[in-house]
């Protein structure tokens, strides 16, 4: 078996609050993502999901831990070496209103990465490449010269995806990319993600709290609670055979499409207890790990 595209070991990052109080946002997290694979990262707000995304992208510096990407240690890269890594690791943001520069024409925003890495020989070629990216994400290339405020939320998210795709990345970290969108648009964007994966073998770290979407999109799932992964495994195993009480509580809160089932089922509550000092992930079935 080929080595995974991304290997993260014992990653940790804490923040110091104003009163000197230390928050362990990410506290010893390890996971793998294979080429062409999607790992769904779920958990409540503040569980450290987004911080993991930022650490993997090297937008923030981890306190400890190893990040190995495409056979290369990237945890300590700096300066030009880090800049050279950027194209292979891209990000799609939650808020399509904040993630585009309001003063730049969207074509310029998408072209910025290509220009920064000298990937277009001249202005005409650059424009053609950007137009092709627009077509690929289902946007009209005639709208290149518009400003972000002229687009809807779903269209802006497509622009954000086009910007991420421009550099032909191997891995895209998608941080709640559909949360801010209308329900009718969410499915379109999810399908776009799936198409892109089929076409170019992209890997995704898909951060979300919508379990239904994660189930639809992910090959494997990791459930986070207070900076730790409490359960991880193949999507089917985690959803059908959840072992950790927190995972079960999350799943019991998932709305069911059938109203009778929805009314009949019982919601579980999970009262957070401190992790046992010796808590570690144990493999319960092949590939399915639970903290205990």
């Amino acid at each position: 078996m080929s080595p995974p595209l991304l290997e993260v070991d014992d990653l940790a990052r804490s923040y110091r609050g104003g009163d000197g109080h230390v928050v362990h946002a990410v506290d010893g997290v390890s996971f793998r993502i294979g080429a062409g694979e999607t790992l769904g990262l779920v958990g409540e707000s503040g569980s450290g999901k987004s911080t993991i995304g930022r650490l993997v992208l090297r937008l923030e510096q981890a306190d400890r831990g190893r990040i190995r990407f495409d056979g290369q240690e990237i945890g300590a890269l700096r300066g030009e070496a880090l800049r050279q890594l950027r194209p292979r690791l891209q990000m799609v943001f939650q808020d399509p209103f904040a993630s585009l520069n309001p003063r730049r024409r969207v074509g310029d925003s998408v072209a910025a990465g290509l220009r920064a890495h000298g990937l277009a020989p001249d202005a005409a070629a650059l424009r053609e490449q950007v137009a092709a990216l627009f077509r690929r994400v289902g946007l009209d290339p005639g709208h290149l010269d518009r400003h972000p405020h002229e687009f809807s939320g779903g269209q802006r998210q497509r622009i954000g995806i086009a910007r991420a795709l421009a550099l032909k990345p191997r891995l895209i970290v998608a941080d709640e990319p559909i949360t801010a969108l209308d329900v009718s648009i969410q499915a379109q964007i999810i399908n776009l993600f799936l198409e892109l994966q089929q076409d170019s073998g992209l890997s995704y770290l898909f951060i979300a709290h919508d379990l239904g979407m994660v189930r639809h999109l992910s090959h494997r799932v990791a459930v986070m609670l207070r900076g730790r992964i409490v359960e991880t495994g193949p999507t089917a195993a985690v959803f059908e055979d959840a072992r950790h009480p927190y995972t079960r509580a999350l799943l019991s809160a998932m709305p069911l499409p059938d109203p009778d089932l929805e009314a009949a089922r019982q919601r579980l509550t999970y009262t957070a207890a401190p992790f046992a000092p010796d808590a570690a992930l144990r493999e319960v079935t092949p590939g399915h790990w639970v903290l205990g």
Binding site: L59, A98, R103, G113, R127
Partner: protein, 288 residues
């Protein structure tokens, strides 16, 4: 260089049209344009030399003879003087504004973007500069240098940039929290590109506001300095030193003070109106 490599720039007429649609802005622009034209062309068109003394025609009343706005204590034509004074006042105001925008904008941009040690050092320096009351700083510097247009501009520019630096630093800090700056970093853009292409266009509006406030303030500061005898030296007129001379005759000949005072007021008001209009017009969402 520019952020707009991709094809046609935003049509200038669009911006101009949006600007002129605002009545105050259009009025301010007209006022400033009128002032500038009058100051540029006026002294050449008038039949009187602003420096020519005529002791037989002192303190002539406005609208009373060949001197439209009367004459001063040495019989010099007041209109010619006030317009040639405007050349210096406006030029110093604008040049000092450019200088402080350049210095303050750069310091603010860099300090806001590099929030670590570089930003802290820069902002402490700004705080240090702000500790000196600017009038005293201005007067001390003016007293130590030889008076003139260049030194007056330099002194005003270098004492007025701290406000801009603070404003821009706060603005840039807030912008750096936004996802599009994170996205730019994730794309691997160089810092210079992020500063110039992503951040600079987003601080255009506060820069414009700052610019107008500074032109207005620089005109006032020039008046202070000249009023106190350090800036533009007589017999060359500036609005400030005209005011100073006029105060001796204020009871008998108030128009000598009212006229330069009115010019200062008009210039300051006009520049402020322009700034407000420009801020609105530059906002791409401002489609009213």
């Amino acid at each position: 260089m520019s952020a707009t490599i991709l094809q046609p720039a935003l049509p200038g007429t669009g911006l101009l049209a949006r600007f002129l649609r605002r009545r105050m802005a259009a009025a301010g622009a007209a006022l400033v344009l009128l002032l500038v034209l009058a100051c540029l062309l006026g002294p050449a068109l008038l039949p009187f030399d602003p420096l020519r003394i005529n002791m037989r025609a002192r303190f002539l009343l406005p609208f009373s003879g060949p001197h439209w706005l009367g004459t001063d204590e040495l019989g010099r034509d007041l209109l010619a003087r006030v317009l040639s004074a405007g050349r210096y006042s406006l030029a110093i105001g604008c040049l000092a504004m450019l200088l402080s925008l350049l210095v303050g904008g750069t310091v603010g941009l860099v300090a806001g973007f590099y929030q670590g040690r570089i930003g802290a050092v820069l902002m402490r320096f700004v705080d240090g500069m702000l500790c000196f009351p600017s009038i005293f700083l201005l007067l001390t510097l003016a007293a130590l240098t030889s008076p003139g247009i260049a030194t007056t501009t330099l002194i005003i520019g270098l004492t007025a940039w701290m406000g801009v630096a603070r404003l821009i630093q706060a603005e840039v800090r807030a912008l750096c929290e936004r996802d599009f700056v994170t996205a730019a970093r994730a794309l691997g853009l160089r810092d210079s590109r992020i500063l110039l292409d992503e951040l600079l266009p987003n601080i255009a509006a506060p820069l414009c506001v700052a610019a107008t406030l500074i032109v207005a303030r620089a005109i006032l500061l020039e008046s202070y300095v000249s009023y106190l005898g350090y800036g533009i030296q007589p017999p060359v007129a500036s609005w400030g030193n005209m005011l100073q001379k006029a105060q001796q005759y204020f009871v008998s000949s108030p128009w000598l003070a009212i006229l330069p005072g009115l010019m200062i007021t008009l210039a300051v008001t006009g520049f402020n109106a322009i700034g407000d209009g420009l801020r609105d017009a530059l906002d791409p969402r401002g489609t009213r």
